[in-house]
């Protein structure tokens, strides 16, 4: 017997005969019934406000825009406020590449010590102020990790209330190699429990929320 058979045989020796798959699936689904009784409520009635409150609480900074076209100017404001040069690694996503970046020099590659990366969030989740990114041809994972400042554009129509809503929203799509929920800038409490930002990933997470992305 190989290890796989040994393990499965040992399990079946203890758990008994397998029940019909449909019965197991129904039981699993029932365990998720009425999710509202077992999860925290939102921080505010409105999604954008609930998201913003939670995101701010974990150290994410937030800017609000009306339209996608305003994104480059908002990035510029952020760079200026942080005293950063006008050069960013830009996610090669159509929604961002199609914008007029004016005086900001954008590049697709991510240097090992990249100062700023600008990307597009796939989803926002209001429950904990999380942003979701999916890896893909137009989204290198390292943009979110090698950079010191990670700037994510979040379209408000991509806001979801709870974690389960995200699971539901993506369940019929092919799973990407990486689906990453980002909740605040990188941090550690490994030295005497004291909190330090920017352990390995970004020390700064800045979200630009766009109310109306129909100009995309």
């Amino acid at each position: 017997m190989n290890a796989r058979q040994r393990i499965l045989t040992a399990i079946r020796g203890s758990t008994g005969a397998q029940r019909p798959v449909a019965v197991i699936a129904a039981e699993a689904a029932a365990l998720l019934g009425r999710p509202e009784v077992a999860r925290p409520g939102l921080a505010a009635p409105e999604l954008r406000e609930a998201f913003a409150l939670k995101a701010a609480a974990v150290g994410t900074t937030i800017d609000h825009l009306d339209r996608m076209a305003e994104v480059p100017a908002a990035v510029r404001r952020y760079l200026d406020a942080q005293g950063l040069p006008a050069a960013v690694a830009l996610q090669p996503a159509a929604a961002l590449a199609g914008l007029d970046w004016g005086g900001i020099a954008t590049h697709p590659d991510i240097a090992p010590d990249e100062a700023v990366g600008v990307g597009l969030a796939e989803w926002g989740i209001a429950e904990g102020g999380s942003l979701v990114i999916h890896s893909g041809p137009d989204n290198p994972v390292l943009l979110a990790f090698l950079t010191l400042h990670h700037v994510l554009v979040l379209r408000e129509d991509r806001l979801l209330p709870h974690l389960e809503d995200y699971a539901l929203a993506v369940q019929d799509n092919p799973q990407p190699r990486n689906a990453i929920l980002i909740t605040g800038p990188s941090g550690t409490t490994d030295i005497e429990g004291s909190y330090v930002r920017g352990a390995h990933g970004p020390g700064f997470l800045h979200v630009i929320m766009v109310r109306d992305s129909s100009d995309l």
């Binding site: 393990i7 397998q18 365990l31 904990g128 369940q171 490994d190 390995h200």
Partner: protein, 474 residues
């Protein structure tokens, strides 16, 4: 490493108790964790319902573990990952080492995984001549110190910032400019960045294995996991078979419990699902993904009285709230997993004979079970080990004899009353003015505290005398 190869538990505990710096370090980390967890639970009125749900999810998975493992294997394979199965630690080590050697790997980065520690992966890689770089900050600290984790969430919690500064000064090039945590973290960031990008293989653990997608899930704060799993050519996951959940939504239900119980946060900074290797056209990611599913005693637990321990989601709340752990720290336990959960698991992994002290070195105060996010009755499980130890004859000598004599008397009420009467009178001879300062055979007590001197006559004597007097008056 087995507990038997080290000095005994009592000797280790005594050594740690005399380490004043350790006490300070433990108190800072666990005290913080305790306060923050309490605040997080207070801010989550649905916590008890969530906990009940988490327990039910784990029990459901454990009852159908074969079904979910096969489902996971199917979906992970379909996503392009290679799934391996390991019956024990040796098989798991051999699989991982073989993958690394076949790939001519020289440099391996590793994101913190307690399972990796459990199966002895660090030593196995070293023995195979492969450079291993721990990327979690705490693991980086203990790698520099040549130590093992002392806590499952904060592996370096036994180290004060001054001690970390010394390690970094010797181990970082250039050394950090100052010894405040901020400067030291930046130094580690610089030091490790080249390693992340130069590694041939990245090894991570998994907090969840999602059956219906075939994804593995890591839950981290630093971002080191993604930097470990993305740049190298090969990503290897080692995970215990009990980490399975039916779906992503089930993982989320447990995630809410895990993070609050571990750190008092609501979510970690990064909750990442890894599903297969890099897809065609993907901008980055590994070309191969291997998942090693490890049994190492878990199927045995499934069949015995320790089954409930398979619910454990490794949050560490039990140790943060344990009076014993908070005095002696994690290394004294001698196994991979310290604290209350470790006292249940170490006898499974290292054998009861080598670790029989662990289930006994507990006051049975129940606080671990009270804070456990999946309702594991840890004291009951420790009691089960005590029962096995008693039956196996591992509890010997004077204590066993004493229990035998006492139990013989306790089953004979008249004899017991007589023995008590004689006993309290004898005991009074050792004391003066209310207290006994030193008592033969009770040095464990009187070395550290005084013993109240018995009042003189037992309750039963006095009560029976009163009753007799009442009867005479009537």
């Amino acid at each position: 490493m087995s507990a038997a190869a080290q000095p005994g538990f009592k000797a280790r505990a005594a050594a740690e108790l005399s380490n004043a710096a350790l006490k300070v370090a433990i108190e800072r980390t666990t005290g913080n964790a305790e306060r923050k967890r309490a605040a997080a639970v207070a801010a989550f009125p649905e916590f008890d319902a969530a906990r009940e749900r988490g327990r039910a999810i784990k029990d459901h998975v454990i009852a159908h573990l074969d079904h979910y493992l096969e489902m996971f294997e199917r979906n992970a394979t379909a996503a392009g990952a290679k799934v391996h199965w390991a019956s024990d630690d040796a098989e798991a080590r051999a699989i991982v080492t073989r993958i690394c050697l076949d790939a001519d790997a020289r440099l391996v980065t590793r994101a913190k995984s307690m399972l990796g520690e459990e199966i002895g992966l660090p030593h196995a890689l070293a023995d195979a001549g492969i450079e291993r770089v721990e990327t979690d900050l705490a693991e980086h600290i203990i790698q520099l110190a040549g130590e093992r984790p002392s806590h499952i969430v904060w592996p370096a919690m036994h180290r004060t910032r001054e001690q970390v500064a010394d390690l970094f000064k010797a181990g970082h090039h250039p050394p950090p400019a100052a010894d405040d945590p901020g400067t030291m973290v930046q130094s580690a960031r610089r030091e490790l960045r080249a390693k992340f990008l130069g590694a041939d293989v990245g090894i991570s653990g998994a907090n969840f294995l999602v059956a219906d997608t075939g994804a593995t899930c890591t839950v981290t704060n630093e971002g080191n996991a993604e930097l470990t799993t993305t740049p190298p050519r090969i990503h290897i996951v080692t995970a215990g078979i009990e980490k399975i959940v039916p779906s992503t939504a089930h993982a989320f239900a447990l995630l809410r419990l895990l993070v609050r119980s571990a750190t008092g946060g609501e979510l970690t900074q990064y909750t990442t699902f890894h599903c297969g290797p890099k897809r065609p056209g993907d901008a980055d990611g590994p070309e191969e993904m291997h998942i090693v599913l490890v049994d190492n005693g878990r199927t045995r637990m499934l069949g015995d009285e320790f089954r409930e321990m398979l619910r454990c989601i490794r949050c560490g709340a039990c140790m943060n709230h344990c009076v014993v752990y908070r005095q002696i720290g994690g290394h004294a336990y001698g196994g991979t997993y310290p604290g209350p959960m470790g006292a249940v698991l170490t006898p499974v992994l290292d054998g009861l004979a080598a670790s029989r002290d662990l289930p006994h070195a507990c006051t049975m105060n129940g606080r671990c079970a009270e804070v456990c996010p999946v309702g594991i009755p840890i004291p009951t499980l420790l009691r089960a080990w005590r029962r096995r130890s008693w039956r196996a004859g591992l509890e010997n000598g004077v204590p066993r004899l004493a229990i035998g004599v006492w139990a013989m008397a306790a089953r004979r009420p008249r004899l017991y009353r007589l023995a008590s009467r004689v006993g309290v009178r004898a005991l009074r001879l050792f004391g003066r003015r209310g207290w006994i300062r030193s008592l033969p055979l009770a040095g464990g007590w009187t070395a550290y505290r005084d013993l109240p001197r018995p009042a003189g006559r037992t309750f039963m004597e006095q009560y029976r005398a009163n009753q007799a007097a009442k009867g005479a008056r009537r």
